[in-house]
């Protein structure tokens, strides 16, 4: 008669286990966080209000609040959550942009509702170009690319990103400034 532990572990528990090096915990976390981001994005999009917009980073924060649900969580695990969520948010947006581009190539028909996220978004930058540039940057400098991901897709402040990566805030700011230059040049040239 199994009693305890029959329920699936909470997001907090998974974060702790991941932090302790349990790779399976990360594999379990990804779909949960990804689903929640999608769910919230979708939910807010259905608002029908043209005058209101929502930053994707707000979704990351809302996902955090909902998934962790006020359980005690260490700062370290919290930044881990944001790191993961910012990467997944990037994925969500790139997936959408790809499908939209694919649809355009196919003669401009509407993106099918069933197999695509249907998350329209406005972004001042060309998202797919940014994604490619980031991948390339990551080959040279993994950490620098992470900083962009955390700040741009995760909406983390410099100090939050710094504590996630275990570096100083000044380092984050320096890397960020340089990354912007490099990405801008890369995207301009490939445009």
């Amino acid at each position: 008669m199994a009693i305890v532990g029959a329920s699936s572990p909470s997001v907090t528990q998974l974060l702790i286990r991941w932090n302790q090096g349990d790779e399976q915990a990360l594999r379990d976390l990804v779909p949960i966080v990804y689903q929640e981001l999608r769910r919230l994005a979708h939910y807010h999009l259905r608002s029908e209000r043209p005058e209101h917009t929502l930053q994707t980073t707000a979704i990351v924060h809302e996902a955090y609040v909902r998934l962790v649900r006020g359980q005690p969580i260490e700062v370290l695990n919290r930044t881990h959550f944001f790191a993961l969520a910012s990467r997944l948010m990037r994925q969500v947006l790139v997936d959408y942009a790809r499908s939209r581009n694919a649809a355009k190539r196919d003669g401009g028909c509407r993106v099918s509702l069933t197999n695509v996220l249907e998350i329209p978004f406005t972004i001042d930058e060309d998202l797919l170009a940014l994604d490619r540039a980031l991948n390339e940057l990551a080959c040279m400098d993994e950490r620098q690319a992470r900083i962009v991901e955390l700040k741009f897709f995760g909406g983390l402040s410099s100090s939050a990103a710094a504590s996630e990566l275990g570096v100083s805030r000044a380092t984050v700011d320096r890397e960020w400034a340089i990354a912007r230059l490099w990405l801008h040049r890369h995207m301009r040239k490939s445009a």
Binding site: V4, R38, P50, T53, L181, L183
Partner: protein, 762 residues
Amino acid sequence: MTPERWQEVKKLLDQALQLKPVERCVFLDGACSSDHELRAEIASLLSEEECVRPKFLQCPPVLDNFNDNRDGERESEPGLSVGQVLDERFQLIRKLGEGGMGQVWLAEQTTPVRRTVAVKLIRAGMYDESVVKRFQAERQSLAIMDHPAIAKVFEAGTTAQGQPYFVMEYVPGLPISEYCDLKKLKIEERLELFIRASDGVQHAHQKAIIHRDLKPANILVVEVNGHPVPRIIDFGLARATVPQLGAQTLFTQVGQLVGTPGYMSPEQADPDVKDIDTRTDVYSLGAILYVLLAGSQPFDTKPGEKLPLDELLRRLREEDPPTPSTRVNSNRETSSATAEARGAEPTQLVKLLRGDLDWITMKALEKDRARRYGTPSELVADIHRYLRHEPVLARPAGVSYRIGKYARRHRVGVSVAAVVVLLLAGFSVLQAVQLRRITRERDRANLERDRANRITDILRDASPNKDAISMLERAVAIDPSYAPAWEHLGLRYYYDSAYADGGEQMLKRSDSAIERALALDPNLIDAAAQLALNRTVRGELISAYAGASDLVKRWPQNADGHFVLGYVLRYAGLLDEAARECDTALALDPGNYLRSCSWLFMELGQSQKATEFVRLDAGSEYAARQTAFILLRQGKLAEARQSIQKTSANPLMARDLIQFCLDPSQTVALEKAAQKAEAAALAGTDSEPRYGIGTVLAYCGVKDGAVRLLNSAIKQNYCAYNALQTDPSLAKLRGTAEFKELLSAAKECQNEFLEARSKASH
């Protein structure tokens, strides 16, 4: 570029960036004198600085549903044109307007009757064909709505291009707020109009139909024989356009936001709330009333200010708007225009709104729907009271306030009572059934909160609980097939047994009411939990355990199941296992009152955790006693005495016992108090208080009484084998011969449970 090379570039680039532009050239010449490639790369990135827009990558992506047609992404509406005929019956005459949902056209219906109708076309791609199917499913109930304030929805169909549309009565009127301002209606006239609209909403609720998107634009005013008449449009549309969300489809079918920010209820703004009920319309009516009185929406933004949606939703869920009178008073720029449109001076208007009308509006706008008016007719009744100069229910003081508080505390009892009263007043059976559907939905939503409040007050005053019992008994007599009423009755009987003078008899009644409830609906978690609890206090641990572990198996994410399982394990003396269940329950639902978990941590000598579990219950008599028990075990005697003073004279609260115990001059009084407490503990059905009082007696040196009580607790399967060894209050007893006997009885008790449990699992 290699990573190593990039590090080099970065290092120099960073240094260069710290310099003024004019100095950079010299710096680079010096720093990379021999490496031309390096210099070129750095110079290229430095020059990039000039063409980077300041905002580049500085603003996160924005989700944006409706602005994306700028790149031609959104297809234009399929060509609708004047004269076009839909479904061979509806000839489009002219476009009336366009909203978020789609276009509205004036049309002429030719067969079977000739009439003018409004056709609402749902924007392409927003909803699929299932809209029409859902509408057809709702049609039956829409058809039975017949009220002068409700505009009829006739039918739904699909255009040749697959675009869904609704055909409804054409109402050539103005939105209620515009009409009132245009005609400069006085506050009383506005209230009259509002009451008639609310009557329409009440009528729909009686047919079990919720509007979900009430706003001024959906309450149009037409003049009939020179008199204004409100007509509510779009009834039943919101329902049809939102798919049913089952619990399993949480992640695949996303909660869609229906409603208009500003008029939308807080629960609609919360993606986690799935059971929108009639009180959502009460909220929207409150927001409309607010506009009619104060001239702006409860969460109005300043002109030109655009709130992001998430911010608006957050305010809607968390912030309280200013009262209507404060709103008028605080905005000097608009207050004279607002007042003029109401035929008054600004100061007059503020005076008129302050008090009753403020209270009424704010009660309708309560965030917690349980604290709103339960129905539109309750709201209307309060407005009538205002118009008749009678005290309104929303008044936050005095007797009415206390009644309101009572209603809030004993909501289930009251809502069921409302049904009973209506039934007795001679409602037709059909309406009773419809009403029951609504009440049932509402009861379920109330359960969570109700359980939080359920015991606290009964200790002080048992009569509200007894009232609730008699109302529920009448309810089940009228409708014996209504499971939630049986369930609540079962809970109420238990409270009477545990916290008033109900005793064994009420506990038995609790069992049978709950068995009735479960026979009607085996998925009532509260009932199943209560049954396991009843068995536990009686000492029927094996069957209690089976019930509780079944609960946990079926609903592993439900905190109550874990809580009850912890309850059984605590009685069985398995404190570590019980602690795990309590921790799980707390993690699953940190807002749940899990106060009796406090016992086991107290028995383990873990004062801090024991205190944590009564924290949410702070202020109640139960918490005061429990805190005193814990402090006593910590040796914090002055604080223990202070805490126990907050309890009543009920001997089970141990107030006198602890006070006399802590005063060495009161040995005679202590003896008397000990006898009283012992008798009270032995008279109750539950074994835990015997243990609790027993430990206090042991602490106070009343050895014989302590042994009798502990023995009796163990005999009734409060095994306490761990507790006897860990509980700090038993220190004085531990060396005695009697204690050894208690310990071996406790061990036997626990072994018996363990054996039965392992047998059951094989």
